[in-house]
């Protein structure tokens, strides 16, 4: 053994060992591959090394979504816009929701709420099936598997960006501007990304093991939408039950997003926002850690 080789102690089964490169005297990174049961931390250095791949995978997801379509990228706007139109017709006029949101156009109200929501659902639905759909990649090539749900979130982000442009356009047309709430925008975007990555990673891991999750998710998001104040303002929820809404992280994030853009005496409360933020961060860590834990079985069972 040459003198510059450091003896690495034998791994016991209980100690988690990430396969992290450690630089050696001869300049080449040393990689150790060992069974590592248990919980494993996120390998940030590796994720950084593969950052270009993340860009390519996101680009691929976005590109193939719109290839050979007649409308191309306008689909990114079409979904929230069509939903907004339908909601305005049925809930705004038909169910009289427009009365519940005085001082603001109901369409704008709904659209502003839809944006983060569509980002969230499209992230988690695509992330959930990302590993199963890319089975050939998972079984033949190594890359940090987290890239797959991350690229779904990335692609949803691109759509979000496009739809946001329309929101700004609508606001200009309605002659409304943001108020002080705009300061919360960066926080909302970060939190909603964390939440999406967390739930996405969780679902991705679950779908590999239990295939029926891919059918559960669309149903789940439908139900979830009704407990999120998109169609209705939180003000119609009776005060005694409003604390329950705090458990839905998307509720707080949607409210805050609206507050950021629409300068409207809204029912935004800092409590809901903080609760949503805390839950989002927790879900992020839970999702990532679960993913890392089951990651090693992916190639064998996907």
């Amino acid at each position: 053994m040459s003198s510059d080789t450091v003896t690495i102690p034998e791994a016991s089964d209980s100690a988690p060992r990430p396969a992290a490169p450690v630089d050696r005297a001869d300049g080449l990174p040393l990689l150790v591959i060992e069974p590592a049961p248990g919980w494993r931390p996120i390998n940030l250095r590796e994720l950084w090394r593969y950052r270009e791949l993340l860009g390519f995978l996101t680009w691929r997801d976005v590109k193939i979504r719109y290839k050979q379509t007649a409308l191309g990228a306008t689909w990114a706007i079409l979904q929230p816009v069509m939903t907004m139109v339908i909601f305005t017709l049925f809930f705004g006029r038909g169910a009289g929701m427009a009365q519940k949101t005085p001082g603001i156009s109901y369409s704008l109200f709904v659209y502003a709420g839809l944006l983060p929501w569509v980002f969230f659902t499209s992230s988690i639905t695509n992330a959930g099936t990302s590993l199963v759909n890319n089975q050939n990649l998972v079984t033949k090539i190594y890359f940090p598997r987290l890239m797959m749900p991350l690229s779904s979130v990335g692609a949803a982000f691109v759509d979000f960006g496009i739809a946001l442009v329309l929101l700004i356009g609508m606001m200009i047309w309605n002659q409304t501007g943001p108020g002080i709430g705009i300061l919360f925008l960066p926080a909302v975007i970060v939190l909603m990304s964390l939440l999406s990555v967390g739930v996405g990673a969780l679902l991705a891991g679950l779908t590999v093991a239990y295939r029926d999750f891919r059918y559960v998710v669309p149903f789940m998001t439908q139900m979830w939408m009704f407990v999120t104040p998109i169609i209705y303002p939180t003000s119609i929820v009776p005060k005694e039950l409003r604390w329950l809404w705090g458990f839905n992280p998307m509720a707080g994030l949607v409210e805050t997003f609206r507050y950021a853009f629409l300068n409207w005496p809204s029912d935004w409360t800092p409590q809901t926002f903080l609760m949503s933020g805390a839950i989002s961060i927790c879900v992020f860590f839970v999702g990532i850690f679960y993913f890392r834990r089951v990651e090693r079985t992916f190639a064998d069972i996907v």
């Binding site: 690495i8 270009e52 090693r296």
Partner: protein
Amino acid sequence: MGCPVIRVENLSKQYRIGAREVRYKTLREALVNLAAAPYRRLRDRGQRATQSDSVWALNDVSFEVQPGDVVGIIGRNGAGKSTLLKVLSRITEPTKGRVEIRGRVGSLLEVGTGFHPELTGRENIFLNGAILGMSRAEIRRKFDEIVAFAEIDRFLDTPVKRYSSGMYIRLAFAVAAHLEPEILLVDEVLAVGDASFQKKCLGKMGGVAREGRTVFFVSHNMGAISNLCQKGIVFEHGKIAFEGTAREAIERYHRTILDCDERRNGLPPHVLYHAPENEAKHDYSVTRIEMLDMDGNPKEVLSTWDDVIFRVSYCCNKEVRTGSVELSFAPVEGGRLLFLATQPDGTLPLVFTKGEHSVDCILERFPLSAGTYMLSSALAIPTVQWLWKGQDLTAMTVAPCDVYGSGYAPKASRSLLAVPHQWRVVSKASEARVP
């Protein structure tokens, strides 16, 4: 001697199979299992059928590779070669043991990984390159070389789904061939494409090896192994059976196949090959090869110039519009000798439908001399791609027969082929007849 670039210590990989197989489940099954667990534990007490539960694809494997080694890994199907590459590529985790790797690893377990049919050739080069681990700058730098190697300049901006399969393979390999890792792991990917392309690929691999990179090459192509590799490792049932020079490894491998006792267990002598259990998991596979005489009865001994029927039975789980069955005989030391196929060489179009089927290859006057030959078989879409390849399935002996009436039966050590011929002395009279 410097530090080894790869060190493997007591590596083991276990796969669960059969009833306890951890394949994907549905939630419903998982919940039912959970509910039934206590009952099942009671019932199974004392009936631990662990033998059929799991298989050790790799069993306590240890070896070292020095920088610059070109190592050939050979062994029968299912011996654990591909599993080893998967573990070294970090695609699957070992169950026990440890691997130390020094340097960047590039894995070629399959060509065209990540190719998306909707994207153009240009876009796929970047995507595939990124997936294989190249940076965007690197791909841009090598872009022209890649396109030149693949010979697809005119089709760069067409979606890949419009490419012919030949173009697809060429492009896929071109990207992979320009990987420049310190350690290259290659898994039988060179067995694709036409002859000129294969030569190009082998040439490129040779170039990579000469540059001093470490190469791990899994293949059934003994010719490629002996040309490219200096070291060879033979795998058998998940363990290393032999480690030494490439030449010695090839000999050891052939000796294993010639050791008929191991596999003949109860097979009647006219059955040349009968597939092991786990071959059935493939979409297509040859299940049995038998020898029959012209009346359809089992033929136990084959001699030179015998009339013989080789019956190849195969099983398909998917349909193929045009399929072909191939049978080939090769000398023990490797190389090519006799190759027979229903198409394109032969004239029997086949449609592969689901189920078990058989074809007969009727050979009058079997042309091989007395000796031992390696039998291989394959299922393919003629001139397009292989569906299943069984290289060196079994060793087969041809018995001597004095076909020339000279008292000397032709032997493989003198001449592999025994052709009908005559000798005569040229007399003045016969000379005049020839213009």
